[in-house]
Amino acid sequence: MKSKDIENLIKDEGLKNIPDIDIERIASTAVLPAKPRRVRKKGFAVAMAVIIAVVCVSTLSGVLFGTVSSEITISVNPALALAVTPMNTVKSVEMLNSDAEELFDEKEIEGKTVEAASEYIVNKLYEAGYITEDSEITVTAKGNNKKQNNAICEKIHGKANRYKHSRSHGGGNGN
């Protein structure tokens, strides 16, 4: 008998012996691990929609550095108010609720340019899961210096949208 015949005999005989188990029952009753929860949905699944309301109140005497020319209020669920000088620097920040106190560090915002501060704020919102691909982002502005207000609003809106886009593509932090 040739080696090939031996191999075929073993294979044929062995395949006949394979038992059939009740895989349908196992498939329907076996314990599958629980799926991991998505990041920080909190109680506001609907309000995964991020609403950013920016209220800018310009003052007439806002020419000097250090003088507040705009007051910007950003409200998502964490809410905070920024006092901005005509030089686009954040003079002070006020946390308007406990979520904001928990999430943001005043030292990271005060003294920074509006651009750097909004970068930090949007980054923090993104990391905490407040900005998702299905979030609705609304930015509104009020105030006398419309040019400055619009520019600030556009910056925040633009950054938030980039983060949203990066999350929907499974990317990093939108930079």
């Binding site: 394979i18 188990i21 895989i23």
Partner: protein, 173 residues
């Protein structure tokens, strides 16, 4: 659909994927179990436990070599049963159904019921496992080498020699 995709589907909670996984891997799982235990009823138990364990541990599957991952689970299940039985009945390391000494008398055992039985009685445990995994499990020598902890070239050589041994017994008979 590839086997790794089926496992990832199972990981995503699609239970029906297990049925297809079973159809594609039952030969290999059975062969691993039988190779270790050399007992059909015990191999059947291992098969059941293996597919249950696949479900329980599916989170640990990272998308890599799917058959290797499944066979490793089967091997662990088989070894668990083997160790338990060994403690109970004091068998040697050569398998539940066989001791190394049995080989000496095999040439006289012309009443072996079938070719598998001849192989089981003729070969060492490692030789038998390699032959079984290759012919019945459908595994490649490279895949077997990982399961038995030997180089692929050694596996190929052991396999060839094992077939020669069986052939010699059959021809003599």
């Amino acid at each position: 659909m590839e086997l790794n995709e089926l496992l990832l589907n199972l990981k995503n909670g699609e239970r029906r994927a297990l049925v297809e996984i079973y159809e594609r891997t039952k030969r290999a799982v059975y062969s691993v179990a039988y190779g270790v235990l050399q007992n059909n009823a015990a191999a059947e138990d291992v098969m059941q436990e293996t597919y249950i364990k696949i479900c329980e541990n599916i989170d640990g599957y990272d998308g890599g070599k799917p058959l290797g991952w499944i066979c490793a689970i089967a091997k662990n299940q088989a070894l668990d049963i083997y160790r338990k039985n060994k403690r109970l009945v004091g068998l040697s390391d050569n398998g539940i159904g066989q001791n190394e000494e049995d080989k000496n008398g095999v040439e006289n055992d012309i009443l072996a019921s079938n070719i598998i039985e001849i192989a089981r009685k003729t070969l060492t445990k490692t030789e038998f496992m390699i032959v079984h995994l290759h012919l019945i499990g459908g595994l490649k020598h490279r895949e077997i080498s990982k399961l038995v902890g030997k180089a692929p070239s050694s596996v190929r050589w052991i396999y060839t020699e094992a077939i020669k041994k069986i052939r010699a017994v059959v021809d003599k008979d």
